[in-house]
Each structure stands twice: as structure tokens, then as C-alpha cells.
């Protein structure tokens, strides 16, 4: 079973496919952050990309999230080859199909929780009313239905990350990419976030969690380990 094809036995379509991806940063000497990565993420999956810092997992996340482009190789999102897309098309693809959760939350301080979540639909061209309705539903889903109008500064770390998760799911993306989502949280709060992500996965969301925390990774159904810019064969850790 090769990582590039995943598990065809399930019959699930691939949400994301990395096909021989290299990412080299220019310089002297050039830094080879990714060296021939093949990876397939199927619809409905929940997986951890785990590795120590400097292993290339952040670069991998950026490539998977189309925030960075491979130097060589292809990234397919739901069958669409992203290497030839313009900035405009790529941005559109992000707004429609990808949801991001960051370690540092990236909430806008002057906006309420509701408006922060609604911002997840800002570039979808829907009206403010629709955005707010959908944002409220998303906040209720993450258990913050009673804090709709709170500013981020009035929320705990765990609540802030829940707001960020609500923002990531509000557009109902095909794939949620979470970068160290528990990195700024204490263990108990972090566990709550992992439970929430697990719940969302059970409800059908496809989720990739990037982490250096092996313990966290172990709680997820599938783990992929990154070392020195390559993905280790699964089951050989």
C-alpha cells in the first residue's frame, strides 16, 4: 500500500493528492524543504501529519493549503490540478474548498465572534445576512451559541480556537487544515479541541491536523510522519 494511493478499498474519492512534490527555497545552498512527497487524503478521513520542527511539515501544510506552490510535482484538490491556476482561481478554490485553523487563532480583535466566523464567507460573495445566519449555526456547532457577540479578547484560549474552527467550517469546505491547533492551549483545553475536531469528522468533515505532538497524533485514526522533507511509509514508525 503506497501513500500516494491511500486505501482504494474504501472507494472514497480523494480530496487532496500530492504527487511527487518538491519544494526548494532558493539561497546558497538552496533549502530542500520537501523532497518528493506523495500523499492522498480521502473524503471523510481524519489524519495527523506529525514530525519534529524543521521536518518540513509546515511547508507541507502551506502547499496543501495552496498558500505556497510546489517547485516541482502536482497538487490536486478534488481532482483539480492547482499548478496551472491563476492567483484569482486559486484564491477562489481556497475560499470554497479549504478551511484553515491556525495555532495563533488569527482572529480579528475588533470583530465579534459572529463577525469573525462570518469573515470565513467574506470572499464567497454572499450577503451579510446569509453570512451571519451561517456563522451562528457554525458557532452553535462548536458550542459557542451563547457567545455570539463576544469580542475575542473576552474569550478564553479554548473558546478563541473554537471560534477559529467555526470560521474554518462555516463555508463547508472539502478539507480542513489545522496547524498545531492545540499548540497555544493547555492540555485539558487542547483535548477539548481534539474532541471537537473528532466530532466534526464524525459529522463528515475531512480533517488534516499538523502537529509535532505525537500524543495528539496518536489519538487520530491515521498518522503520517514527515522526516527531512519526505513522508515516511505508513505503519513503519
Amino acid at each position: 500500500m503506497s501513500p500516494a494511493t491511500g486505501n482504494p478499498a474504501t472507494g472514497n474519492p480523494a480530496v487532496l493528492e500530492l504527487d511527487g512534490v518538491y519544494r526548494t527555497y532558493p539561497g546558497s545552498p538552496p533549502v530542500e524543504a520537501l523532497v518528493g512527497v506523495d500523499l492522498r487524503v480521502e473524503a471523510g478521513e481524519m489524519m495527523a501529519v506529525v514530525g519534529p520542527s524543521g521536518s518540513g511539515k509546515s511547508t507541507l501544510l502551506n502547499i496543501m493549503g495552496t498558500l505556497d506552490r510546489p517547485t516541482q510535482g502536482r497538487l490536486l484538490i478534488e481532482g483539480t490540478d492547482t499548478s496551472t491556476l491563476s492567483d484569482r482561481r486559486l484564491s477562489g478554490l481556497r475560499s470554497a474548498r479549504l478551511g484553515f485553523v491556525f495555532q495563533s487563532f488569527h482572529l480579528i480583535e475588533t470583530l465579534s465572534a459572529l463577525d469573525n466566523v462570518a469573515a470565513g464567507l467574506l470572499y464567497r460573495g454572499v450577503t451579510g445576512r446569509t453570512r451571519r445566519t451561517m456563522a451562528q449555526a457554525a458557532l452553535e456547532k462548536v458550542g459557542l451559541g451563547d457567545r455570539l457577540h463576544a469580542r475575542p479578547t473576552k474569550l478564553s484560549g479554548g473558546q478563541r480556537q473554537r471560534v477559529a474552527i467555526a470560521r474554518a467550517i462555516v463555508a463547508e469546505p472539502s478539507l480542513i487544515l489545522a496547524d498545531e491547533p492545540t499548540g497555544n492551549l493547555d492540555t485539558a483545553t487542547g483535548d477539548g479541541i481534539v474532541d471537537l475536531l473528532t466530532q466534526l469528522n464524525a459529522d463528515g468533515s475531512t480533517i488534516v491536523v499538523i502537529t509535532h505532538d505525537a500524543e495528539l497524533a496518536a489519538r487520530l485514526p491515521r498518522q503520517v510522519e514527515v522526516r527531512d522533507g519526505t513522508v515516511l511509509p505508513e505503519g513503519q514508525r
Binding site: 509546515s58 502551506n62 493549503g65 498558500l67 505556497d68 483539480t80 492567483d87 484569482r88 482561481r89 484564491s91 477562489g92 478554490l93 481556497r94 475560499s95 470554497a96 474548498r97 479549504l98 484553515f100 491556525f102 495563533s104 487563532f105 488569527h106 482572529l107 480579528i108 480583535e109 475588533t110 470583530l111 469573515a119 470565513g120 467574506l122 470572499y123 464567497r124 460573495g125 450577503t127 451579510g128 470560521r167
Partner: protein, 395 residues
């Protein structure tokens, strides 16, 4: 599902407003730079426009139909006006009134033993002088037909101050050419003919008989039909001196006042240019603050890119922020400049005249400067690598 990144126009604006609202203090201070530039420009335009309006209103009340005929001072010799210049001019249909005056050249003294007052001259005038120049006395009475050859005098307002005579109680007299003249009146101001304020008026006959000056008028003041000033003016020289019309000058005193309304144009341009410099400095300030803002907000920019904003959306957001910032400054500036104009005009007893076009131009100029100032920082923001930006680390 369409994979198009679309930002509605309204959302574009509110996104930019959020950016400004989150840094209120800085927004206000930056806008202040623009406000000062716009305020100074609006105040310059407003004050000079109010001043001009006041001057024109004054002209309106004074009338522009007073003409002055006098012997030409061009050429080698001055050819005096004929003795009958005034009656001849009166015969023109469109002339409403005329008065000949004779500059005696005599300077006046408080009394026989005192020094003469330099620049305060005696002027012989016909009784029509007061009606023609439409000037009243603030004290006493004007000269009339019966006083034409009597030793009496009416003082110009400045002459009265120089002579130290402010009231007629006690029967003050002054000395002209060794003769005592009783002061019977003091003239009101003459805004159109300030030179007359420094004269003392005696009867034309008294001037000839007592001071021995030639009876030729040095000037004839002519009040003409207000609607026919232009057609009457060319008739005056040949009528006053049919033999030598070229030796006669005709002028309109109100032209001087009117010219004053235009004379300030150069100064106004200079002040406007200074306001423009302030505006440019304000614009550079905006560019500066926006560049810093872009650096500080890398995280937000990365987030927006992750949420699906195109480079164009990011660029537009920052250009719009700069324009709004500057537009805010422009509106503040227009208010401030209008306020300055109103206060100053009130102090000067002017009618406030704030041209709406200047106010609109103020806000427009601010918006334009803001957009220009925003271009560079916005391009910087749009060029940011989203992967780097998103790890820029803003909580």
C-alpha cells in the same frame, strides 16, 4: 459550487473601515495631517472669497458711477481745465451731478503762529460737491451756495484728526494762507476717495478771492447714470476741454477698490500652494503609516488570503483604507477650514462666503491624495507571500 473569489462592494468598504477602527488613535492622528492641509486651503479660499464679497458689497453700496475728470499729468506741461468745465459737463444728458474742485496748494495751520500741517491742503469746492460725492458731515453742516465766498471750512475726517478738532462747540477756527476760517463741519469717511479725507473744503469763490488761486478747476467729480457709465465716460474729456481733449484724464475711483479685490490673487495662490504642501506632507504621512500597518498586519493579510482573498482584494482593501483615512481628514479639514473662515469673517464684519466647489474640491483632493498614498503600501500588502504572512504571528 463555483470556485470564484468574490467580495461584495459593501463588504469591501466595511472591511477597510474595520482596519481603521481597530487603530483609532493612529487613524485620527494620520487624518489630522490631511485635515491641516485641507483646512488651510479651505480657509484661504473662504477668507479671500469672503473678503472679496465684502468689498464688492461695499462697492455696490458706494456705487460705481462716480467719475473723476482732471488735467492730464502726462506730458511736459499740465494744461489746466477750462473755467467752465463743470457747467459744460453738466450739459451731458446722462450726467446726474458734477462738482469742480480747485486744489489751492495751501497747507493749513491750527492758527497763524503754528506750523503748517504737511499734506493737509485746502480745496475749493462748489456746493454740489456733497451731493456729487454723496458724502454727509458727521458734525456741523456742509457748504452751501450762501457760504461759497465766506471764510468757512469743512474738514475732511483725517484732516480733522490731524488738526485736533473733533467737535464744533466753541467755534474752532483754522488758518489758511494767513486767513482765519471758521470750521462749520466735519466730513464722513470717503472710501472711494480717501485722498479727500486729508483735505479741508472751502468755497470755490473764497479760494479764488481770498487765496488768489486761478479759478480753473483741478478736477471735476461727475456722478453719471449708473446704467450709462460706459457711454458717458468717453464724452467727458472732449466736453471738459474741447480744444485739448488729450490733456484730460478721466478715471473711476471705484476701479481702484475693485482692483484691490483682485490684487490678492498672487498671495492667495501662494497660500494655496502652502496648503498644498501641507496636503502632500499629509499624504506622505498616510503612505508611511500604511506601510507600517501592512507590516504589522501580515497575519491578518495571510488570514484573508487563506480565507480566499485575491491579491486584488488585498490591494483594494489597503487603497480603500488609505482613501477613507484621507477622506476623513478631508472632511475634518473642510469643517475646520469653514470654521476658521466663519470666525474670521465675523470678526471682520464680512458676509461669510464659502464656495461649495471649494468644499467639494477639498474632500475630493483628500480622497485623491489618499488613494495615491495607498498605492505603494497596498502593492506591498498584495505581494506578501501568504504562507509567510500567515505565520507572521498575530494573535
Amino acid at each position: 459550487m463555483t470556485d470564484r473569489s468574490t467580495l461584495r462592494g459593501r463588504d469591501m468598504v466595511s472591511t477597510s473601515v474595520v482596519g481603521l477602527r481597530s487603530r483609532r488613535g493612529r487613524t485620527l492622528l494620520t487624518a489630522l495631517g490631511i485635515a491641516i492641509g485641507i483646512a488651510s486651503m479651505v480657509a484661504v479660499v473662504g477668507i479671500s472669497s469672503s473678503s472679496k464679497a465684502a468689498l464688492l458689497a461695499q462697492l455696490d453700496s458706494l456705487g460705481t458711477n462716480l467719475l473723476q475728470v482732471q488735467a492730464s499729468t502726462n506730458g511736459l506741461s499740465i494744461e489746466p481745465l477750462p473755467i467752465d468745465a463743470e457747467p459744460m459737463i453738466r450739459r451731458i444728458d446722462t450726467v446726474q451731478n458734477a462738482s469742480a474742485v480747485i486744489d489751492t496748494g495751501f497747507e493749513v495751520r491750527r492758527n497763524e503762529h503754528d506750523e503748517t500741517l504737511v499734506g493737509i491742503n485746502a480745496l475749493g469746492a462748489t456746493p454740489e460737491f456733497f451731493n456729487t460725492l454723496q458724502v454727509a458731515t458727521t458734525a456741523g453742516r456742509p457748504l452751501d451756495d450762501g457760504l461759497r465766498s465766506m471764510p468757512v471750512v469743512v474738514l475732511g475726517d483725517v484732516a480733522a484728526i490731524r488738526l485736533g478738532i473733533s467737535e464744533l462747540a466753541g467755534g474752532p477756527t483754522i488758518s489758511i494762507g494767513g486767513h482765519d476760517f471758521a470750521v462749520i463741519g466735519i466730513l464722513d469717511e470717503l472710501p472711494l476717495n480717501p485722498d479727500l479725507s486729508r483735505k479741508v473744503l472751502i468755497g470755490d469763490r473764497a479760494a479764488v478771492a481770498m487765496l488768489g488761486v486761478p479759478p480753473n478747476p483741478t478736477a471735476v467729480y461727475v456722478r453719471v447714470d449708473p446704467d450709462l457709465v460706459a457711454t458717458t465716460r468717453p464724452l467727458l474729456a472732449p466736453t471738459a476741454n474741447p480744444g485739448r481733449p488729450a490733456k484730460v484724464d478721466v478715471s473711476r475711483p471705484s476701479d481702484l477698490l475693485e482692483a484691490r479685490a483682485e490684487v490678492d490673487q498672487n498671495l492667495q495662490n501662494l497660500l494655496l500652494a502652502l496648503g498644498g504642501v501641507a496636503l502632500l506632507v499629509g499624504g506622505v504621512g498616510i503612505a508611511n503609516v500604511m506601510v507600517i500597518s501592512v507590516l504589522e498586519r501580515r497575519g491578518e493579510i495571510g488570514l484573508r488570503r487563506a480565507l480566499g482573498a485575491t491579491r486584488g482584494h488585498v490591494r483594494l482593501q489597503f487603497v480603500l483604507e488609505a482613501a477613507l483615512l484621507s477622506g476623513l481628514g478631508g472632511m475634518l479639514g473642510v469643517l475646520l477650514g469653514s470654521g476658521i473662515t466663519i470666525v474670521y469673517a465675523r470678526q471682520q464684519d464680512w458676509v461669510v462666503d464659502l464656495p461649495p466647489s471649494a468644499l467639494l474640491a477639498g474632500v475630493g483632493a483628500a480622497l485623491g491624495i489618499g488613494m495615491l498614498a495607498g498605492l505603494y503600501p497596498a502593492a506591498k500588502a498584495a505581494r506578501l507571500d501568504p504562507a509567510l504572512a500567515v505565520s507572521g504571528g498575530v494573535a
